[in-house]
């Protein structure tokens, strides 16, 4: 079958690779209908995520049709149209039972690698390095879905592919940031990053009762989408002092909840960006935490900061003093998609949550390398490119 493979830093190819097959009795094979680029893929392309191997199939946000099921798959049958969460989770360990699905104990087939990096392993993920299980990704014609009863969700007939595909990752990730960040009615919420995840976090904050939602980015068309589809105010960080702007708009208090949806390749104007870039390129620190620093400094006393962006290792100049002395609550997580996917599909079906507008480019799989260049450079107004294998 045809698949998009990572071959090294900024080097993707479309190759013929072996078809997946059922390896465990709870597996299903899904014929991919639509698979989306994600900002976190750019960290793979940039060479910032360790434990990648030339030939790895990438892609982790997708939907499709089940074409084969293992003998112990109970909830699905051949022909079902399903959206699949990015994290692979067993559904029965303590973490899954407590709705922390991305922390699954039984789905990472390389636990020793992740434990050496982070102390404990996460669950497995499609197409996101051997530290997270080495599973083949979804930018392919077919994909093996382990523990299919827990990670695949039937898509309502009245929800189109372009809307439903984001119930795989962007929507549950964004929703989780607002939910576990503790957004409550009346809050002021600031979101760093107006990509797919940031927009979903902003919309989730509004649906959870936030009175004011402010989205920070530099890309005009993304800020426009945040205003239009998430009913958010926006700040262009290249045009103003973000901290001063937030203080002015929040009565001098600062936002109650700050959600970081940028990740380890953050941009910023000024010398801080150059400093972080030099250290990152010299591998003296692995991640550029500009937006996290800004969120911690901007957050009100006693407020909450939630880190949604993907980070891989260690950072420099982390404002630990601000965190401690202001009494902040800082959380982060990879997405617990299984916790939110059914509710999100329902909200999408009811028209409460717009996701379709994120698809700015739909292309065949053969054009994935060019599409990722466009996505990376934000060319042609690209917010998300999707592929129909």
């Amino acid at each position: 079958m045809k698949a998009v493979t990572w071959q090294g830093t900024n080097h993707l190819t479309v190759e013929n690779v072996p078809d997946p097959r059922i390896l465990n009795e709870q597996d299903a094979i899904v014929k991919v209908g639509l698979t989306a680029t994600c900002g976190s893929d750019l960290h793979l392309l940039g060479g910032y995520v360790p434990a990648m191997r030339a030939g790895d199939v990438i892609g982790h946000e997708f939907l499709g049709e089940i074409v084969e099921v293992g003998p112990r798959v109970r909830e699905h049958k051949v022909g079902d149209r399903v959206v699949v969460t990015s994290f692979i989770s067993c559904g029965r360990c303590w973490y899954c039972q407590h709705d922390e699905w991305s922390l699954c104990d039984n789905s990472n087939t390389n636990p020793g690698i992740a434990q050496a990096m982070w102390g404990y392993e996460t669950g497995g993920v499609f197409g996101y390095s051997h530290a997270m299980g080495g599973f083949k990704g979804s930018h392919a014609e077919y994909v093996r879905v382990p523990f299919a009863d827990y990670g695949a969700f039937k898509v309502p007939d009245d929800v189109d592919d372009q809307s439903a595909v984001f119930a795989s990752d962007a929507a549950p990730t964004g929703w989780m940031g607002a939910d576990l960040g503790g957004v409550s009615p009346g809050d002021v919420v600031a979101v760093w990053g107006a990509g797919g995840v940031g927009q979903m976090a902003a919309r989730a904050a509004a649906l959870l009762g936030a009175e004011q939602v402010i989205v920070i980015d530099r890309i005009p068309e993304r800020l426009e989408q945040a205003r239009r589809y998430a009913s958010a105010e926006t700040i262009d960080y290249t045009a103003t002092d973000v901290g001063a702007e937030l203080r002015e708009r929040t009565g001098g208090r600062g936002p109650d909840v700050c959600i970081e949806a940028v990740g380890l390749e953050a941009h910023s104007p000024g010398p801080e960006y150059a400093y972080d870039q030099v250290k990152q390129q010299l591998r003296m620190h692995s991640d550029r935490p500009t937006a996290v620093r800004e969120a911690i400094m901007a957050c009100r006393k006693g407020g909450s900061v939630f880190i949604l962006g993907v980070f891989g290792g260690v950072v420099d100049k982390f404002p630990l003093g601000a965190l401690m002395n202001k009494g902040l609550t800082v959380r982060g997580a990879q997405q617990h998609g299984q916790r939110y996917a059914p509710m999100l599909l329902d909200r999408i079906a009811k028209g409460e949550l717009d996701t379709r507008h994120l698809v700015t480019h739909e292309l065949p799989l053969d054009q994935a390398p060019e599409a990722y260049q466009m996505f990376k450079n934000k060319d042609d107004g690209c917010v998300r490119a999707v592929f129909r294998p």
Binding site: G8, Q26, G47, R92, T109, N110, P369
Partner: protein
């Protein structure tokens, strides 16, 4: 290969990144070993209980023939001690295993031999970790998840390093 986007500078950066990535698991094991040997002696480390917590009541493991097959096999093939005790709160049951006679079973001593044994797959504690993880998964899910195969379609030197890391990953880590 149908398409590619790559510059000369990217290739250099890519090689550095691949080397760094490929070495991550093996280097992680080595660093983990070295760091912990600075604060604990080999004898204590080799005799330490390795433990997983399983989402099941203790009776599931303490009833006759209740131990899962990977642990029973371990008992048949090696001199190990097995410990079962309830976990606090609602966390299930703690299943522990340790070598009865670490030195006799070949547990390495000293940092160089320890690293070499772990990288070559000759540290007997790797079998214990794998058995514990498999036992937990079997009880909780009814099966042990298998990795996708083949692991890659393009063999490279850095890929070989990653292959070594993934081969050892099931028996390594901080368990």
């Amino acid at each position: 290969m149908k398409r590619m986007i790559k510059t000369g500078a990217d290739k250099a950066a890519g090689l550095a990144s691949n080397l760094a990535s490929g070495a991550a698991g093996a280097a992680g094991a080595a660093w983990d070993t070295a760091r912990h040997r600075m604060v604990g002696d080999d004898q204590a480390a080799a005799a330490r209980w390795l433990v997983v917590t399983i989402a099941c009541p203790p009776e599931r493991l303490t009833r006759p023939a209740g131990l899962p097959e990977p642990i029973e096999r371990l008992q048949r093939e090696a001199e190990v001690e097995v410990r079962v005790q309830p976990a606090p709160g609602d966390r299930g049951t703690e299943l522990g295993v340790r070598l009865s006679r670490p030195r006799a079973d070949g547990a390495p001593t000293g940092i160089p031999s320890n690293i070499a044994a772990r990288l070559s797959g000759n540290d007997p504690r790797q079998r214990l970790r794998t058995a514990l993880r498999d036992a937990k998964s079997l009880i909780e899910t009814g099966e042990v998840l298998r990795p996708d195969t083949p692991p890659t379609t393009r063999p490279t030197i850095t890929g070989k390093v990653m292959e070594l890391a993934t081969k050892r990953a099931g028996g390594e880590g901080r368990l």
